[in-house]
């Protein structure tokens, strides 16, 4: 914060005139990127503007058509709408129709070398949505609109945002305006530029330099691929459950199989996923056993997108704000939830306060900072989780404690709740860490460390299968 104030004292004061940095009737806003962050920003800002009788014009620059199948129309992501985001969207009145939701998920199935155990949602309710970010993988059947990104874009359009299918390649700023230039030579002038291009675009690089004091977030490589299995087989072998893997593979933090319509998405997160790590995981027995005959099907579509693992310093300046992945996101989880939170916080700032760096510092930056601080705690949580993954006796304890909880009818299922929130990203990492420090949790884990390693693991529940040595 001190750094920001220093920067404001030197660089921003020339431009930061609060009286000249609020939007008026007829003000124009450019949103660069029509993914979830850009569409939700446009939707919420137009709603808020209407509530205060402010007439705004929003142009969304997005060269892709999310109705295309394969990489051309895809935003390269696992496509999970978390429990917390789903509940917030429902509270906002945003309903995800069944043709957008590829599958509602009611449980997680945890695969470890010591066994497999299922964690069920309260009341067996489908609380997590698996969606496509584009209109389905390459080789999928052509259908009507099924993309999550396309659906949100349509909502923003119905609210009054104008979609421009052009690739924005340049940005110039004066004290009063921002000019957006496109690859085809088109240019236009706005009072505010909202950058929602994600982390895999070069547009953010334009903002990182002497013109604007923004430093882009750090990134790491992930792996996402699709397997075509067909609806009936997916129903039979995976069901309405997200299958997660905690395996002792160096560099791998987390991997998940996400059943959708006719396809299953594999998502691998970790420290720079590469071919060797992918092959190592594909050879793992726990993964292969998820498929009939233990044979991993051929990949229908795959990509190695980058994700950010830190927050941009600083994701705003006068008349410029970075939202979604371009600005910050939650570490490894709930990227769509972070896109929603940053989009709405930026929209609130713009509608009710202004578009100067000072406005964003006061009303937008606190959310980014809170996410950043929570991510630092998240790094610690994942490092502890990594230690557990490395040691077989701790894996046995986690498995035993979870399986016992799932088999019983106790109201508090402490290990299950911790795992559920780590997998789903529904709770802040600070809260998850707090729960693991509870004396009852620690006592129970210690007991399971002893009990799980003094006797061979045994079957704890119908959905829990333990594996011997």
């Amino acid at each position: 914060m001190r750094g920001i104030r220093r920067r404001a004292a030197s660089g921003w004061t020339d431009l930061a005139r609060p009286d000249g940095h609020s939007l008026q009737d007829g003000s124009r806003i450019a949103v660069i990127g029509g993914g979830p962050a850009g569409s939700m920003f446009s939707y919420f800002l137009l709603n808020m503007a209407e509530s205060i009788d402010l007439d705004l014009n929003i142009d969304i620059y997005e060269p892709r058509h999310f109705r295309h199948r394969g990489p051309a129309g895809c935003n390269h992501c696992g496509g999970i709408v978390s429990e917390s985001l789903l509940q917030r969207l429902a509270t906002e009145g945003i309903h995800l129709p069944s043709h957008v939701v590829q599958r509602g998920m009611e449980s997680y199935t945890l695969h470890m070398d010591v066994g497999t155990v299922q964690l069920s949602a309260p009341g067996l309710e489908k609380r997590i949505a698996a969606v496509y970010r584009g209109n389905g993988p390459r080789e999928s059947e052509p259908t009507e609109l099924i993309s999550f990104d396309g659906y949100l874009q349509q909502m923003a359009g119905e609210r009054g945002a104008r979609l421009i299918h052009r690739m924005a390649t340049g940005l110039e700023r004066t004290a009063d305006h921002v000019t957006i230039r496109c690859a085809d030579g088109h240019s236009d002038t706005y009072e505010l530029a909202v950058v929602a291009t994600g982390i895999n675009s070069h547009f953010v690089d334009l903002l990182c330099g002497p013109m604007v004091p923004i430093r882009r977030p750090e990134k790491t490589t992930t792996f996402i691929c699709e397997f075509h299995l067909g609806r009936p087989l997916i129903e039979e072998i995976l069901g309405d459950s997200m299958h997660v893997f905690l395996l002792d593979i160096p560099g791998l933090e987390f991997a998940a199989l996400i059943p959708k319509g006719d396809f299953v998405t594999l998502c691998m997160l970790g420290d720079e996923i590469d071919d060797a790590l992918i092959e190592h995981f594909f050879a793992a027995e726990e993964f292969r056993q998820c498929f009939p005959g233990g044979v991993v099907p051929p990949r229908a579509c795959h990509c190695l997108p980058r994700i950010n693992v830190s927050t941009a310093r600083y994701p705003f300046d006068d008349r410029i704000v970075l939202i979604g992945d371009s600005g910050t996101t939650r570490l490894f989880k709930d990227g769509l939830g972070a896109a929603y939170r940053t989009a709405k916080a930026a929209a609130r700032t713009v509608a009710f306060h202004g578009v100067s760096a000072r406005d964003f510092e006061q009303y937008y930056w606190p959310l980014c900072r809170a996410i950043d601080v929570d991510n630092r705690i998240g790094k610690f949580v994942f490092s502890v989780s990594g230690l557990i993954q490395k040691m077989r006796f701790t894996r046995r304890a986690v498995f035993r404690m979870t399986a016992t909880e799932q088999a019983g009818d106790s109201a508090r299922k402490r290990m299950s709740e911790v795992l559920w929130d780590i997998f789903s990203g529904s709770a802040p990492y600070r809260e998850i860490l707090g729960r693991t420090l509870h004396p009852v949790y620690i006592g129970s884990l210690l007991w399971n460390l002893v009990a799980g390693n003094l006797q061979p693991p045994r079957q704890q529940a119908p959905r829990a299968e333990s594996r011997g040595h």
Partner: protein
């Protein structure tokens, strides 16, 4: 398979009058009805459809459910946990706007009904 929330069959009770609750619900598909069962008979107060919510009073106070909610035909309903909701409005108070608007409409609706009741008297009660 692709829908969210939990499916309730025709007549199945989602919320029972007199029970304590800690969540509200949003209708995803189908219809539900709010029924007053306090006088040994069922009085249907209103019918709710897609995107409507109910049980919102439990988010603000740990009180008993004031009506029974049951499915009309097959209905799919999503739960909004109190903890998730309060965490959300702590970060973004505008998240509560739609709930407040709906509660305001319901108060307005009840005030209108009460006015009519006082004009016509208890003899004309439904």
């Amino acid at each position: 398979m692709a829908g969210l929330g939990k499916v309730y069959q025709n007549g199945e009770i989602i919320v029972r009058q007199g029970e304590t609750g800690n969540c509200m619900y949003v209708v995803q598909d189908g219809q539900v009805e709010a029924v007053d069962q306090s006088d040994d008979r069922d009085v249907v107060l209103r019918t709710l459809g897609r995107n409507d919510f109910f049980g919102e009073m439990a988010l603000f106070e740990k009180d008993m459910r004031t009506v029974t909610i049951r499915a009309v035909g097959t209905a799919r309903v999503l739960t909004i946990d109190r903890k998730q909701f309060l965490r959300g409005i702590h970060e973004d108070p505008s998240l509560a706007m739609r709930v407040i608007k709906t509660m305001s409409h319901r108060i307005s609706d009840l005030t209108g009904k009460l006015g009519k009741y006082e004009q016509t008297g208890p003899a004309d009660r439904p």
